[in-house]
Symmetry: C2
Subunit: 274 residues, 2 copies
Amino acid sequence: MNKLKRNERIGALMNILTDNPNKIFTYNYFNDKFDAAKSTISEDIVIIKKLVEKLQLGYIETLSGVSGGVRYLPALNNSQILKLLDKMCKDISMGNRVIAGGFIYMIDLLYSPEWIYNIGKIFYSVFKDKEIDYIITVETKGIPLALMTAKIFNKPLIIIRKDSKITEGPTVSINYVSGSTKKIQTMSLARKALKEGSKVLVIDDFMRAGGTIKGIYDMMHEFDAKVVGTGILVSTEIPENKVVDDYVSLLKLKNINEITKSVEIAVNDDMFLK
Amino acid sequence: MNKLKRNERIGALMNILTDNPNKIFTYNYFNDKFDAAKSTISEDIVIIKKLVEKLQLGYIETLSGVSGGVRYLPALNNSQILKLLDKMCKDISMGNRVIAGGFIYMIDLLYSPEWIYNIGKIFYSVFKDKEIDYIITVETKGIPLALMTAKIFNKPLIIIRKDSKITEGPTVSINYVSGSTKKIQTMSLARKALKEGSKVLVIDDFMRAGGTIKGIYDMMHEFDAKVVGTGILVSTEIPENKVVDDYVSLLKLKNINEITKSVEIAVNDDMFLK
């Protein structure tokens, strides 16, 4: 391969960094890949670092140490987050989404890669200062957004199953009470799914009373794991008192009117205070 | 914002294109964003197009039409695919993965964002010439890799549920026979999950006899949808005759030895003939 020009190297570096958020690449890796001197790569990185900040694409972090390294942190600022959340509220209130029983049909949004990739970036921006080993969720609807969050954090995902007939070796099962229906349910997780003493970020799509999230906390207790944060896409305004209290909800569901088929939902401004 | 220099524009364009594979951006969008003439942006895109091909990062497609557009297709070539699959075989055969009943513990791999992002790129490379409206899977373990495939294709994901107690409005349920256990099971999908006449790509993590995949085909028949491809991460060598025949499996599981706890798995070379 012929040596690359500066603008080509910058394009290539940006491709690699953007495709692998939060992954540390050593300068040596780039020196070898582009057959360029370390000083040349360092200059490229300085240009990219300034560019990423100027365009508000997040941050480039350079790490010192034996060989040195660089990684891309795609954090959004509050005004970018607010703009995305405003758009999400519009998406949720529009269309005929109210279904019998006072539920909202959101599958098309929760399974849209672009929509949930943005949510992953928002959760990353909210929890980026926490030390996190795993992103954890419970099946099924929250999986896509938990995975996108894991992708941005570059950390493994853990999915707690509601089914105990699973072929994942020895499992730990716990019972929990769904806060809104008061029904007893079971969740299971493979013994080897996470190491003892891990720090986890809990992510889910929806929270009414918080019984399921409480169940995840109980499960984490069994694994001697520490919950360092809880991110919920939509929480309901009622009941006001949830069985869990330390969570960040991006959107607040105020009302579902089954007669007019309308949904009242708003950005949870409190999240910017955390 | 001050006008960007060429190498900054190239970095910024690469960031946007890499972050949004298969999404079409108009030249006007970039003109406005970077306050640059259309001819300038066109020259930038020419540089990026050549660079992406030179570094084998896929392709940049420029589309003509009223305003014109550009998109990034992160297709891998066969030698890149083979290298990734070889590494995956090593990951699967290493470690103590054999669990009672002749199953392999693969959760840590299937839920690792980096691992499955690569699988998404491989499935994209295999099926990129098909016209696809949705990526479809059945819960639970295949969801992450189906979602990453959906992210690369920039198409919505559909998850078929095994649970009929779902709050997604009217559903269609079908019974299917798990090919290996011969047990009758149920899968359900919300009526409004996909439009009639859609073209779908089926993605799953594992296939033994193919009963579950056959179930998905039956479900798609109920929605008058056409299955244009089926991608499986691991299929077993035995039984040789599956209940479905037209699928692409990336890896072939030859043997699980429960006594020596060893796994024999290989790249399915046939896939390169398709």
